[in-house]
Protein backbone atom coordinates (compact mmCIF):
# COMPACT_ATOMS: atom_id res chain seq x y z
CA UNK A 1 0.00 0.00 0.00
CA UNK A 2 1.45 3.37 -1.00
CA UNK A 3 1.24 6.18 1.49
CA UNK A 4 3.27 9.32 2.17
CA UNK A 5 5.51 9.59 5.21
CA UNK A 6 7.12 12.94 6.00
CA UNK A 7 6.49 14.19 2.51
CA UNK A 8 8.06 11.18 0.75
CA UNK A 9 6.32 8.21 -0.94
CA UNK A 10 6.43 5.15 1.30
CA UNK A 11 5.43 1.54 0.78
CA UNK A 12 3.57 0.60 3.94
CA UNK A 13 3.56 -3.07 2.90
CA UNK A 14 1.15 -5.09 4.98
CA UNK A 15 0.71 -2.48 7.70
CA UNK A 16 -2.97 -2.08 8.48
CA UNK A 17 -2.72 0.48 11.28
CA UNK A 18 -0.46 3.24 12.59
CA UNK A 19 1.08 1.10 15.32
CA UNK A 20 2.30 -1.38 12.70
CA UNK A 21 3.66 1.47 10.59
CA UNK A 22 5.57 2.83 13.59
CA UNK A 23 7.07 -0.65 14.06
CA UNK A 24 8.02 -0.88 10.41
CA UNK A 25 9.75 2.51 10.67
CA UNK A 26 11.80 1.20 13.58
CA UNK A 27 10.32 3.82 15.89
CA UNK A 28 8.38 1.68 18.37
CA UNK A 29 8.84 3.01 21.89
CA UNK A 30 10.54 6.21 20.67
CA UNK A 31 9.45 9.70 21.69
CA UNK A 32 7.55 10.66 18.57
CA UNK A 33 4.26 12.27 17.65
CA UNK A 34 2.13 11.43 14.64
CA UNK A 35 -0.19 13.40 12.44
CA UNK A 36 -2.43 11.56 9.96
CA UNK A 37 -3.87 13.72 7.19
CA UNK A 38 -3.21 16.88 9.26
CA UNK A 39 -4.87 15.51 12.44
CA UNK A 40 -2.96 14.47 15.56
CA UNK A 41 -3.38 10.80 16.41
CA UNK A 42 -2.74 10.21 20.13
CA UNK A 43 -0.34 7.40 21.00
CA UNK A 44 -3.17 5.43 22.62
CA UNK A 45 -5.02 5.40 19.29
CA UNK A 46 -2.19 4.16 17.06
CA UNK A 47 -3.29 0.53 17.08
CA UNK A 48 -6.90 1.48 16.41
CA UNK A 49 -6.18 3.86 13.54
CA UNK A 50 -6.35 2.09 10.19
CA UNK A 51 -4.25 3.16 7.23
CA UNK A 52 -5.52 3.53 3.72
CA UNK A 53 -3.74 4.13 0.43
CA UNK A 54 -2.80 7.76 -0.11
CA UNK A 55 -2.70 8.64 3.61
CA UNK A 56 -0.29 11.40 4.53
CA UNK A 57 1.59 10.66 7.72
CA UNK A 58 3.89 13.05 9.58
CA UNK A 59 6.23 11.64 12.22
CA UNK A 60 8.09 14.17 14.35
CA UNK A 61 10.46 14.21 17.29
CA UNK A 62 12.25 16.79 19.42
CA UNK A 63 15.63 18.10 18.30
CA UNK A 64 17.89 20.93 19.41
CA UNK A 65 16.45 24.40 18.90
CA UNK A 66 16.23 27.81 20.46
Amino acid sequence: MQIQVNGEPFDAGECVNLAELVNRLGLAGKRIAIELNMEIVPRSEHDKTELKAGDRVEVVHAIGGG
Binding site: V5, L25, A33, E35, I40, H61, A62, G66
Partner: protein
Protein backbone atom coordinates in the same frame (compact mmCIF):
# COMPACT_ATOMS: atom_id res chain seq x y z
CA UNK B 1 22.01 30.64 47.09
CA UNK B 2 21.02 33.74 49.01
CA UNK B 3 17.75 34.14 50.84
CA UNK B 4 16.71 36.87 48.42
CA UNK B 5 17.05 34.58 45.40
CA UNK B 6 15.02 31.90 47.15
CA UNK B 7 12.22 34.39 47.67
CA UNK B 8 12.33 35.77 44.16
CA UNK B 9 11.00 33.13 41.80
CA UNK B 10 10.07 33.62 38.18
CA UNK B 11 6.41 32.64 37.90
CA UNK B 12 5.09 31.55 34.52
CA UNK B 13 1.55 30.23 34.14
CA UNK B 14 1.38 29.62 37.90
CA UNK B 15 4.60 27.62 38.13
CA UNK B 16 7.64 28.96 39.99
CA UNK B 17 11.19 28.74 38.73
CA UNK B 18 14.37 29.63 40.62
CA UNK B 19 16.35 30.35 37.46
CA UNK B 20 15.59 33.32 35.26
CA UNK B 21 17.75 32.00 32.44
CA UNK B 22 15.93 30.07 29.73
CA UNK B 23 18.08 28.26 27.20
CA UNK B 24 17.81 26.65 23.81
CA UNK B 25 19.34 23.36 22.70
CA UNK B 26 20.33 24.16 19.12
CA UNK B 27 23.75 24.48 17.47
CA UNK B 28 25.71 22.37 19.97
CA UNK B 29 28.51 20.06 18.82
CA UNK B 30 26.74 17.00 20.16
CA UNK B 31 24.21 15.90 22.76
CA UNK B 32 26.86 15.54 25.45
CA UNK B 33 27.90 19.16 25.09
CA UNK B 34 24.22 20.14 25.05
CA UNK B 35 23.60 18.37 28.34
CA UNK B 36 26.70 19.79 30.01
CA UNK B 37 25.96 23.36 28.90
CA UNK B 38 22.33 23.19 30.00
CA UNK B 39 23.40 21.84 33.39
CA UNK B 40 26.02 24.59 33.79
CA UNK B 41 23.48 27.27 32.87
CA UNK B 42 21.24 26.28 35.78
CA UNK B 43 18.23 26.79 33.48
CA UNK B 44 15.01 25.02 34.34
CA UNK B 45 13.12 25.93 31.17
CA UNK B 46 14.71 24.51 28.03
CA UNK B 47 13.51 25.02 24.47
CA UNK B 48 13.44 22.30 21.82
CA UNK B 49 12.40 22.24 18.18
CA UNK B 50 9.94 19.79 16.63
CA UNK B 51 11.04 18.27 13.33
CA UNK B 52 10.30 15.38 11.02
CA UNK B 53 11.97 12.14 12.08
CA UNK B 54 14.52 10.93 9.54
CA UNK B 55 12.88 7.84 8.13
CA UNK B 56 15.18 4.86 7.64
CA UNK B 57 18.22 6.59 9.10
CA UNK B 58 19.68 5.21 12.28
CA UNK B 59 16.56 4.96 14.45
CA UNK B 60 18.76 4.05 17.42
CA UNK B 61 20.52 7.43 17.61
CA UNK B 62 20.15 9.09 21.01
CA UNK B 63 17.18 11.38 21.49
CA UNK B 64 17.49 14.92 22.81
CA UNK B 65 14.81 14.20 25.40
CA UNK B 66 16.95 11.37 26.80
CA UNK B 67 19.61 14.00 27.62
CA UNK B 68 17.26 16.85 28.54
CA UNK B 69 14.74 14.84 30.50
CA UNK B 70 11.20 16.22 30.82
CA UNK B 71 11.29 14.86 34.39
CA UNK B 72 14.07 17.29 35.27
CA UNK B 73 13.44 20.26 32.97
CA UNK B 74 10.37 22.15 31.81
CA UNK B 75 10.54 21.49 28.09
CA UNK B 76 9.47 24.45 25.99
CA UNK B 77 8.78 23.31 22.43
CA UNK B 78 9.15 26.10 19.90
CA UNK B 79 7.65 26.79 16.50
CA UNK B 80 10.94 27.92 14.99
CA UNK B 81 10.96 27.62 11.23
CA UNK B 82 7.23 28.33 10.95
CA UNK B 83 6.24 31.18 8.65
CA UNK B 84 2.45 30.81 8.91
CA UNK B 85 0.01 30.63 11.80
CA UNK B 86 -1.24 27.28 10.49
CA UNK B 87 2.21 25.66 10.60
CA UNK B 88 2.84 27.08 14.07
CA UNK B 89 -0.44 25.71 15.42
CA UNK B 90 0.20 22.28 13.86
CA UNK B 91 3.68 22.24 15.39
CA UNK B 92 2.33 23.08 18.86
CA UNK B 93 -0.28 20.33 18.63
CA UNK B 94 2.39 17.82 17.61
CA UNK B 95 4.56 19.02 20.51
CA UNK B 96 1.71 18.54 22.98
CA UNK B 97 1.27 14.96 21.78
CA UNK B 98 5.04 14.41 21.85
CA UNK B 99 5.25 15.64 25.45
CA UNK B 100 2.22 13.79 26.81
CA UNK B 101 -0.15 16.73 27.02
CA UNK B 102 2.37 19.37 28.13
CA UNK B 103 0.80 22.63 27.00
CA UNK B 104 3.47 25.33 27.56
CA UNK B 105 4.84 26.42 24.17
CA UNK B 106 7.08 29.07 22.68
CA UNK B 107 5.25 30.60 19.76
CA UNK B 108 7.36 32.20 17.08
CA UNK B 109 6.11 32.88 13.58
CA UNK B 110 8.83 34.26 11.41
CA UNK B 111 8.72 36.83 8.64
CA UNK B 112 11.73 36.08 6.47
CA UNK B 113 14.89 34.02 6.54
CA UNK B 114 17.27 36.96 6.39
CA UNK B 115 16.11 38.62 9.59
CA UNK B 116 14.01 35.90 11.29
CA UNK B 117 11.98 38.90 12.39
CA UNK B 118 8.57 37.94 13.81
CA UNK B 119 5.55 38.14 11.52
CA UNK B 120 3.17 39.85 13.92
CA UNK B 121 0.02 39.33 11.85
CA UNK B 122 0.56 35.56 11.78
CA UNK B 123 1.76 35.53 15.39
CA UNK B 124 -1.47 37.15 16.61
CA UNK B 125 -3.56 34.70 14.59
CA UNK B 126 -1.66 31.67 15.92
CA UNK B 127 -1.77 32.96 19.51
CA UNK B 128 -5.54 33.31 19.34
CA UNK B 129 -6.02 29.75 18.05
CA UNK B 130 -3.55 28.25 20.52
CA UNK B 131 -5.01 30.02 23.56
CA UNK B 132 -8.53 28.88 22.59
CA UNK B 133 -7.12 25.37 22.27
CA UNK B 134 -5.83 25.46 25.86
CA UNK B 135 -2.15 26.15 25.24
CA UNK B 136 -0.08 28.32 27.55
CA UNK B 137 1.68 30.58 25.09
CA UNK B 138 5.05 32.27 25.62
CA UNK B 139 5.30 34.47 22.60
CA UNK B 140 8.32 35.74 20.66
CA UNK B 141 7.60 39.22 19.34
CA UNK B 142 9.24 42.45 18.26
CA UNK B 143 9.93 45.25 20.74
CA UNK B 144 6.71 47.14 19.97
CA UNK B 145 4.99 48.00 23.27
CA UNK B 146 1.51 48.11 21.69
CA UNK B 147 1.86 44.63 20.20
CA UNK B 148 3.33 43.32 23.45
CA UNK B 149 0.37 44.63 25.46
CA UNK B 150 -2.07 43.18 22.94
CA UNK B 151 -0.44 39.74 23.21
CA UNK B 152 -0.72 39.93 26.99
CA UNK B 153 -4.38 40.93 26.82
CA UNK B 154 -5.09 38.01 24.50
CA UNK B 155 -3.88 35.69 27.26
CA UNK B 156 -0.24 34.93 26.49
CA UNK B 157 1.49 33.82 29.72
CA UNK B 158 4.78 35.55 28.88
CA UNK B 159 5.77 38.10 26.27
CA UNK B 160 9.25 37.74 24.81
CA UNK B 161 10.50 40.70 22.80
CA UNK B 162 13.72 40.40 20.84
CA UNK B 163 16.79 42.28 22.05
CA UNK B 164 18.13 42.11 18.48
CA UNK B 165 17.89 39.62 15.62
CA UNK B 166 17.96 35.90 16.45
CA UNK B 167 21.53 34.61 16.50
CA UNK B 168 23.01 38.07 15.88
CA UNK B 169 24.66 38.56 19.27
CA UNK B 170 24.18 42.31 19.00
CA UNK B 171 22.71 42.71 22.49
CA UNK B 172 19.70 44.85 23.40
CA UNK B 173 19.53 47.47 20.65
CA UNK B 174 16.51 49.35 21.91
CA UNK B 175 16.42 49.25 25.71
CA UNK B 176 13.94 52.15 25.73
CA UNK B 177 11.32 50.02 23.99
CA UNK B 178 11.92 47.08 26.31
CA UNK B 179 11.43 49.50 29.21
CA UNK B 180 8.15 50.77 27.72
CA UNK B 181 6.95 47.18 27.36
CA UNK B 182 7.81 46.40 30.99
CA UNK B 183 6.10 49.51 32.33
CA UNK B 184 2.72 48.25 31.17
CA UNK B 185 3.19 44.51 31.59
CA UNK B 186 1.34 42.27 34.01
CA UNK B 187 2.98 39.09 32.69
CA UNK B 188 6.70 38.23 32.66
CA UNK B 189 8.69 40.06 29.98
CA UNK B 190 11.55 37.87 28.83
CA UNK B 191 14.16 39.12 26.40
CA UNK B 192 14.40 36.48 23.71
CA UNK B 193 17.13 36.67 21.09
CA UNK B 194 20.07 38.98 20.57
CA UNK B 195 22.21 38.34 23.65
CA UNK B 196 25.86 37.97 22.65
CA UNK B 197 27.74 37.80 25.91
CA UNK B 198 27.26 37.90 29.67
CA UNK B 199 27.04 41.67 29.98
CA UNK B 200 24.07 41.73 27.54
CA UNK B 201 22.20 39.33 29.80
CA UNK B 202 23.08 41.40 32.87
CA UNK B 203 21.84 44.56 31.16
CA UNK B 204 18.46 42.95 30.46
CA UNK B 205 18.11 41.82 34.06
CA UNK B 206 19.27 45.17 35.50
CA UNK B 207 16.51 46.83 33.50
CA UNK B 208 14.00 44.63 35.30
CA UNK B 209 13.27 41.96 32.72
CA UNK B 210 11.78 38.83 34.26
CA UNK B 211 14.24 36.61 32.44
CA UNK B 212 16.33 36.06 29.34
CA UNK B 213 16.06 33.31 26.74
CA UNK B 214 19.18 32.53 24.74
CA UNK B 215 20.74 29.82 22.62
CA UNK B 216 23.46 30.94 20.23
CA UNK B 217 25.31 33.08 22.79
CA UNK B 218 26.10 29.88 24.68
CA UNK B 219 26.24 27.31 21.88
CA UNK B 220 28.42 29.41 19.57
CA UNK B 221 30.93 30.43 22.26
CA UNK B 222 34.39 28.87 21.98
CA UNK B 223 33.67 27.07 25.24
CA UNK B 224 29.91 26.68 25.53
CA UNK B 225 29.91 25.09 28.99
CA UNK B 226 32.00 27.92 30.42
CA UNK B 227 29.78 30.52 28.73
CA UNK B 228 26.70 28.78 30.15
CA UNK B 229 28.18 29.24 33.62
CA UNK B 230 28.97 32.89 32.84
CA UNK B 231 25.38 33.48 31.73
CA UNK B 232 24.02 31.93 34.91
CA UNK B 233 26.09 34.38 36.94
CA UNK B 234 25.20 37.34 34.72
CA UNK B 235 21.49 36.64 35.10
CA UNK B 236 21.81 36.35 38.88
CA UNK B 237 24.02 39.43 39.16
CA UNK B 238 21.72 41.48 36.96
CA UNK B 239 18.65 40.45 38.90
CA UNK B 240 20.24 41.23 42.24
CA UNK B 241 21.40 44.61 40.95
CA UNK B 242 17.87 45.36 39.78
CA UNK B 243 16.41 44.41 43.16
CA UNK B 244 19.12 46.36 44.99
CA UNK B 245 18.42 49.51 42.96
CA UNK B 246 21.38 51.24 41.35
CA UNK B 247 22.81 54.54 42.57
CA UNK B 248 21.87 57.69 40.69
CA UNK B 249 24.14 58.76 37.88
CA UNK B 250 26.06 61.98 38.63
CA UNK B 251 27.93 64.36 36.39
CA UNK B 252 30.75 65.04 38.90
CA UNK B 253 32.83 63.12 41.39
CA UNK B 254 31.59 62.30 44.86
CA UNK B 255 34.43 61.23 47.22
CA UNK B 256 34.03 57.85 48.88
CA UNK B 257 36.48 58.65 51.71
CA UNK B 258 35.70 61.27 54.39
CA UNK B 259 36.94 64.78 53.53
CA UNK B 260 37.77 65.68 57.16
CA UNK B 261 40.94 64.66 59.00
CA UNK B 262 43.23 64.49 56.01
CA UNK B 263 46.90 65.16 56.84
CA UNK B 264 48.93 68.13 55.61
Amino acid sequence: MSEQQLNDPLVIAGKSYQSRLLVGTGKYKDLQETGEAIAASGAEIVTVAVRRTNIGQNPDEPNLLDVISPDRYTILPNTAGCYTAQDAVRTCRLARELLDGHDLVKLEVLGDQKTLYPNIVETLSAAETLIKDGFKVMVYTNDDPIVAKHLEEMGCVAVMPLGSLIGSGLGILNPHNIRLIMEEAQVPIIVDAGVGTASDAAVAMEMGCAGVLMNTAIAAANQPVLMASAMRKAIEAGREAFLAGRMPRKAYASASSPLVGTIG
